[in-house]
Symmetry: C2
Subunit: 342 residues, 2 copies
């Protein structure tokens, strides 16, 4: 992975924490590998030290090797205007990594073009071809499995897992981040997008991930959560991942102040109180592997520091659990909670 | 559908309620369309009026038009010995309907053979190609949506939905069975196997099914349940179907006396008390569409009649809900409960 130099494709969404979450995640956790961001709506800006360009041509002076699709669209389809960008990347000799549901390598036109220009089309969400149903091997994994769960999508479950993993590693623990979605895979370089597998195999995919995380040397496995247990669109993935990854411990993630699930039709879809979410998640654990919520991770990006600290205190008062914003205030407190030192 | 004459392929499992559940379901609800059953382990027997034969050749005198794969295997793969049976069916000019995960039409050898003999390979589990995420259109469906949920797989959720639909139709109600799995699809002639869609689209598939059930004239929609909410392998499908079908009412299905989920590795996987399952399901309803469990459907096939009646009384005492075995004692009581006449 050390030779990869990314051009992040994020047209229109490079600053959007929801639709641009892959771009934001890669920028945060793999910034050294990113040489430019493509977003004509912000061309000329510099984002966290990385230049934003308006076209593929303008990016070439930064010598990218690979274009990474940095947006997530609902349903995972490609907007038509993107095809032109992708063709342009291929014609300039860039490999493409794509985390959307639609697989680039299955597009005859793009595949033909890629063959002609000798570039690789890597579809991060393409499931392993030999997936099957869960077998129970997950329950044999030694060590401690920690899953992030949350009140909504795109509120920071992956970020929390990454921050806590980084903190645990900094303490010398054999800790590993277990990626379950396209951004996590782009950051860590392995994983399965559990939302892209055949439904019957969700738990089987999650099982394989914790087994592999253990084989990669992890004794403390931070499984990236997906969706939300009461999300009208994605809850199936959430529960299948929960049961297939058989966590011992859960960290409940929530965006401070959010009261409704966003982006789901037919709403409003209110978010229940944190206390209820804690109890609901614990009751949904498999009897064979009881799981406890040990901490609350609050995303306080929209609050002042004073308000953030008040929100953390309120979350603790409501749930009786340690609460912190690991991005804002560091991950030490949450890692302590997971290690039973909270 | 009136011209279809089925040869039920159920080699080794024609009497098995679990692995042979497609065969059993089609025999129960579409028996007039079945001319023979293939199961060499029972050749010469007569099953509920239908002859059991030992080979495809022996079935030809009954003039089948279509061979229906009547077994379900975990993971949905084809045992190798089956390929020979399928090739034999094709060579005799039979169309094939298949509900397993592996698609026959994608097998180059079988597809080539089917083209040569001019027969059709219909993969019942193949999802519509234009599926996407749920939109909220499910919440606009008029009428009453009733989902069967259960304590385990293969305990009779589909059967309960079919029996209650039949009873409702006999009362002149505009009632429809909404198929969500291969057997239901084989019986009803439409539907989507929700366990075969991409995980992100489970709720979207369920949404499409209730919308279609309504468009087909249903004012009372009986959605076939799948899996179980605490099933270590299939719970993701269960919850996605629950949230995507947005039921108003739930019927909780349970096999009387069962205490553990069967066939899942790494166990034991105990089944919680019925009262807890009722509460857990109600708490998992989307806030925008609260759902109540209105009745318990007990599968009492392993009990004497006296013991069955005692089990029903115990279920009512535990849950405070009407309880009945619709296969054994008729569906009237459960339909009354759903209609608020219980």
């Amino acid at each position: 992975m050390t030779d990869v130099r990314y051009l992040l494709l994020a047209e229109g969404f490079s600053a959007d924490p929801h639709y641009g979450k892959t771009a934001r995640g890669v920028l945060r956790y793999r910034r050294d590998d990113v040489v430019a961001i493509l977003d004509s709506t912000r061309a000329g800006e510099v984002d966290d030290g990385v230049p934003v360009v308006g076209s593929v041509n303008d990016a070439l002076c930064f010598n990218p090797t690979t274009a990474l699709v940095g947006v997530a669209t609902q349903g995972g389809r490609f907007p038509p205007e993107w095809i032109e960008i992708l063709k342009s990347c291929i014609a300039k000799g860039l490999d493409i990594e794509n985390g959307l549901h639609v697989f680039l390598a299955d597009d005859p036109l793009l595949a033909e073009l890629a063959a002609r220009y000798k570039v690789e089309l890597r579809d991060l969400r393409r499931p392993p071809s030999d997936l099957s149903t869960a077998t129970g091997a997950n329950l044999q994994v030694p060590g401690t499995i920690v899953l992030t769960v949350g009140s909504d999508c795109a509120i920071g479950k992956m970020t929390v897992s990454l921050e806590l993993d980084r903190e645990a590693r900094s303490r010398g623990l054999r800790s590993i981040f277990v990626p379950t979605g396209q951004t996590g895979i782009a950051i860590a370089g392995w994983g399965i997008a559990v939302d892209a597998v055949v439904s019957d195999f969700i738990a089987g995919a999650a099982e394989r991930l914790v087994v592999e995380g253990s084989e990669r040397g992890g004794e403390l496995l931070w499984v990236e959560g997906q969706g939300a247990i009461l999300h009208p669109v994605y809850s199936g993935v959430t529960l299948g991942l929960y049961h297939g990854s058989v966590p011992h411990l859960l960290v409940l993630c929530h965006e401070a102040g959010a009261t409704e699930i966003e982006g789901a039709g037919g709403g409003p879809h209110p978010i229940p109180p944190l206390r209820e979410l804690v109890e609901l998640h614990e009751r949904l654990a498999l009897p064979v592997r009881p799981a406890k919520v040990v901490a609350v991770a609050l995303n306080t990006r929209r609050l002042s520091e004073d308000d953030a600290r008040a929100a953390l205190a309120a979350a603790t008062a409501e749930t009786g659990l340690p609460a912190d914003d690991p991005v804002r205030f560091g991950a030490a407190r949450l890692v302590n909670a997971v290690l039973g030192m909270g």
